[in-house]
Structure formats: C-alpha cells, structure tokens
Amino acid sequence: MTATATTTPNTLIARSLIILLMIVTLLPFLSMLSAALAPQGTYPNGLQWPADPQWGNFVRAFEVAKMDQLLLSSTLIVLGVVPISVLIATMAGYGLAKLTTNKYKWLYLVFVFGLTLPFEAVITPLYYEVRALGLLNTRFAIILPLIGLYMPFSVYWMRAHFLNVPHDLTEAAQLDGATRWKEFWLVQVPLARPAIMSLTILLFLWTWNQFLLPVVLVQDPMQRTMAGALGAFQGQWGTDIPLLCAGSLLILAPTVALFLLFQRQFVAALMQGAVKG
C-alpha cells in the first residue's frame, strides 16, 4: 500500500491481528500438508517440511480410501438432500410469509421451535425410527433425516427473505392475471435467487461435512458422506499419519474448491445471516 499517510497505529494493530489470525487458521492445514508429504510409516512432528516430499501419498490415499466411490456417494447424498430441501423451504417460506393470515402465525413458531432442538438430542430416536423404516445402512438413512433436520433453519431463512419482498409486487402480479402458483414461480422465485443461492451453498456444506448421522446410521463407509467415511478411514489407517493427513486433505478439497468458486455468494450468505439473525 502506497498511501502510508492513512496508516494509523490503529490500522497497523488491526492488520497485525488479521495476519496473526490467518496464521493461526492456516497453521493446522500447513501442518497437515507437511505431515501428508512425509515418508510412509514415519511420525512427523509439527511443522517440518520433509526433505523429500512424497506427493505420491495423495495418490495412495485416493486409492485406499476409494475416494472416487466416496465422491460419488457424497454427491448422491447432496443431490438427494439439497434440491428437495431448498424447494420445500422456498415454498414453505413463501407460504408462511405471504399466504398465512394472523390466525395461523403459530405455524411459524413451530419451525422456530425446531431451531432450538439440538441435533445430537434426536440422534438416538432417529436411529430407531430409521431402523423401523428399514432404511438403516442405506443413503436414505442420511438423506431423509437431513431434509427434515434442515427444515427449521431453511424455512426460517426463506421466510425472512419473502417478508422483505414488497407486497405490492404480489398484488401487481395478481392484477396482471397471475395465479398464486404462477406468481410464485415467475415473480417470487426469480427474486429470491440470492436467498436460494446462499441457502443452497450452506446446505451443501452442511451435508458434505455431515459426520455424526452417517457414522451412526450407516455401517458401510462407501454409503456415507466423505466426512463420515473419514471416521472409518481413521479407524483403518490410524497408525499411518502421512496417509491419514493426505486422505483428510483430499476429503476437504471439494469444500475448499466450492468455497473458492462461490466465495462472493458465500460471504453474502453469511452476511445475510448476520443481519437477519
């Protein structure tokens, strides 16, 4: 920066803090990377760049963890969860924001109540429920509960968006001859695109990183999400630290790639959350 005149002690402190925070955040990743590149069977300690980086560890981790299958499994789960959740949440959000009269405002409170429910509290009843449905050890054991568990937040999110759309637009569409259904698809959904986009990104990340549900409800690691499969991978290769680190980094990679790709929307999504609480 050339404009040194504007650099006050305060901004200097702020920048130093940011750099410090960046180091603290990146250090574990760098440590993982250096460990992943260590020769097989060694026990790397801390941040020690290996003399002979073993890039081949990544290839081996990809093969032994059957990453291709895991990628497919994770993708299938994401595709099963995210579009349906977003669709239902969008419709429900619109309904709760625009179609309900005061008499049915309590319906929304049911969803808000859902937000207070800790995820871990339902895991045991969910296990028996899924078993009773005969879905244990299938991807549906992850997909169906996730759709349900995401609803309170997703509906809350979409309703907040629809509440901000001026009512005049609904009325203009009505006068233009739109039925409720057409108004929803042709006017409201295109306008809700930023909200839908951010919700999609959030749900994708949460699904991709889903750990507890797959570990509890699905035995076969190949039917789990990548993060869930990490549990099995750790159990199997817990002693081979370089391999474990390489595998973990590979599992992380799609999320990081997605983040870099949709950085702007992602930040917008988080900011939106910040404003709307």
Binding site: P166, A172, A173, Q174, D176, G177, A178, L186
Partner: protein, 354 residues
C-alpha cells in the same frame, strides 16, 4: 370499457369500520379522483374496486357485472401503484408484457401491443432496460404502460405521482390528462394532493373518515363546498373560516369583524343568534379601506405573481389573503380587507353548508 357503480359499500377490519357506506356512480370514460387526508379510506376504496381488499358489505359493479366475489385478474381492471411495483428481475419489455404473457396472448400480438404502448408513453428506447436502471419518472411510465397493454375497463391509480419531484409531477400530470383523452378510458385516481385532483378530474370524490363528503366537478367543489371539511380541503391556500353569530336583519357579528356584516344569504333566515362559520377564500379577499376585516400583517410570502399575507384579526383569528401582484405591504402594518358578499360561504353549526 365500462362504468362503475358502488352501492352501500362498507369495509371493516375486525370491529373497526374504515369505509362506512359509499354510494357512487362513475360513467364510462370519466376521470374520477378520490381525494382526502391520510387515513380517510381512499386507497382502501380503490383496493376494494381492484379486488385486493374484501368488501364487508355492499356491492361493486363494473359495467353490469357484480364483482364482489370476482378475482382481481378477472375484473378487467389495471392498477398503477404508488411504488410502481415493477418486477425488478424483468426488462421493461417483459414488465409491460407480463400480463399478456399470462393471458396466453400470441407473441406477435404481444410484441405489437408492447411496442404500441411504449410509443404512446415515449419509452421505446427503454424496453431493454431493467427497472433498477430507470429514473422515477421512467418507472412510472413503465407502470402505466403495463396497465395500458391490458386494455382494461377501468384504470386505477394509487397516488402514482407522489414519489416524483415537483417538476416531474407537473409533467406527468399533463401526460396522464393526455392519456385519458387518447384512451377514452374510465380512470379512478387516488391522491391527497388537491392540485392533482382539481387539474385531472371530471369528478372529485372527497372522503373523510370513510364517508363521502361530497361528489362533484372540481369547480362545484370549489365554488359550493357541501360542508366545512370540503371547504377547508379544496383550494390552496385553505379557505379562511371565521366563527360568527347571526343577527336579526340578515347580518352576522364576530369579534373578528370590524362591524356587523350584512349577508344576502341570511335574508330568508329568521333565527337570530345562530352560531355559524363564515368562509372566505384567500383569493376572494382584496385590499379595501372600508372593508370588514382589519388586522395586523404577521407574515408575507411573495410569490411574484401574487402575495400571500397572513393577517391577525381581533379576537385572535388569523386569516390568509392572496393578493394579486407584488403589493408593497410590510410585516407589522395594519391593513383592511374586503370581499364581495356573494363570494362568502356560510356553514351551520354542524358543519353543513347554510
């Protein structure tokens, strides 16, 4: 195209009545303006005609069809909103053509109609733009264009000019008047701006507290206000209202008046000592050395073509006079004002015209 009839129309939100029985006949091709202060129910009445608000009681007919239970889209009305209510994600072209698209109009016909409307409103060069790239006046044109293409029986305008600046408002007002004569359409227009009402309307409906106070042509309302409310609401500056007491012999007295004032209107009235209100329009007042209103000048507004003077009369009554030209009056000076007896308005104690 069609006329409109309202019969004993009521509207209540819960126990709170907002429209308390409106009867109105609007003929085909008329430009009718609903005017009144904020909260008088004018917008609610318009929205009831549009079908955006339910009717608690009564009947609304468009043409010869009762539309109480008819969906807004099937009423044959088009509405221009105060906020314009343009679809932000659509181009001007798509905004204007949205109604036609929904109605399943063929693409060529739709295109012709959109372009014709754009030509009428001189916005052909804007068709590819999004509403966000338009100025307030341009958005207003698009909103009107959207109404025009649907060829409705009745156009409804809900304070369409209130978001525009004063100069643009004047231009758009003239354009609306031109549009009305070009389209020969029935138009209902809601405003709280009485200049808009006076300049645009064939017929003005003055509303207050959910009740129609008077219906008539702009000049009827100006010259013969039916009650104190209309008298105070129509005309700018506002009509001066002075409390007076009648006396036998057809005169009125008041502390504000220098001498008992003979009024021809009172000749046939025999009851003396009646409490009345005397109304005089500021423009009917003129400097007159022997006039009945004598007081001290408190405030002067020099507009160039006329001079608005606030005068404090005895008995703590303040009046406004609009004097022609650029009179050399100074603040603090004592002046005497007079008016022609036939320009005086008299109102009974209950507010109705005498």
């Amino acid at each position: 195209m069609a006329g409109l009839t309202l019969r004993s129309v009521h509207k209540a939100y819960g126990d709170v009545p907002v429209i308390k029985g409106v009867d109105l006949d609007i003929e085909h091709g008329q430009f009718v303006v609903f005017v009144g202060p904020s909260g008088c129910g004018k917008s609610t009445l318009l929205r009831m005609i549009a079908g955006l608000e339910d009717i608690t009681d009564g009947e609304i007919r468009i043409g010869d069809r009762v539309v109480n239970e008819v969906e807004p889209r099937d009423r044959g009305v088009a509405m221009v909103f105060q906020s314009y209510a343009l679809y932000p994600h659509m181009s001007v072209y798509d905004n204007v053509g949205f109604g036609l698209k929904l109605a399943g109009t063929r693409k060529e016909i739709r295109d012709a109609k959109i372009r014709a409307a754009a030509k009428v409103l001189q916005m052909e060069h804007l068709l590819d733009r999004k509403p966000g790239q338009l100025s307030g006046g341009q958005r207003q044109r698009v909103a009107i264009g959207r109404a025009i293409v649907r060829e409705p029986d009745v156009f409804l305008f809900d304070e369409p000019l209130s978001n525009l600046d004063a100069a643009l408002r004047g231009d758009m007002r003239m354009e609306l008047a031109r549009l009305h004569s070009d389209l020969d359409a029935t138009m209902i227009y809601v405003t709280h701006d009485q200049v808009e009402a006076m300049t645009l309307a064939d017929k003005i409906v003055v509303l207050d507290g959910g009740v129609v106070q008077q219906v008539g042509s702009p000049l009827e309302l100006y010259n013969k206000p039916a009650n104190l409310f209309v008298a105070g609401f129509i005309g700018s500056p506002k009509m001066n209202l002075i409390s007076v007491t009648s006396q036998a012999g057809g005169t009125v007295v008041s502390p504000a008046l220098a001498a008992p004032l003979p009024l021809p209107a009172l000749q046939h009235d025999l009851s003396a000592e009646a409490k009345l209100t005397l109304g005089i329009r500021p423009h009917d007042l003129a400097l007159a050395p022997d006039g009945p209103l004598k007081g001290q000048v408190r405030l002067i507004e020099r507009l160039g073509n006329e001079t608005i003077v606030r005068v404090m009369l005895p008995g703590n009554t303040e009046i406004t006079a609009a004097l022609p030209g650029q009179d050399r009056i100074e603040t603090g000076e004592t002046i005497t004002l007079g008016f022609k007896a036939e320009s005086a308005h008299l109102f009974c104690e209950d507010g109705a015209r005498f």
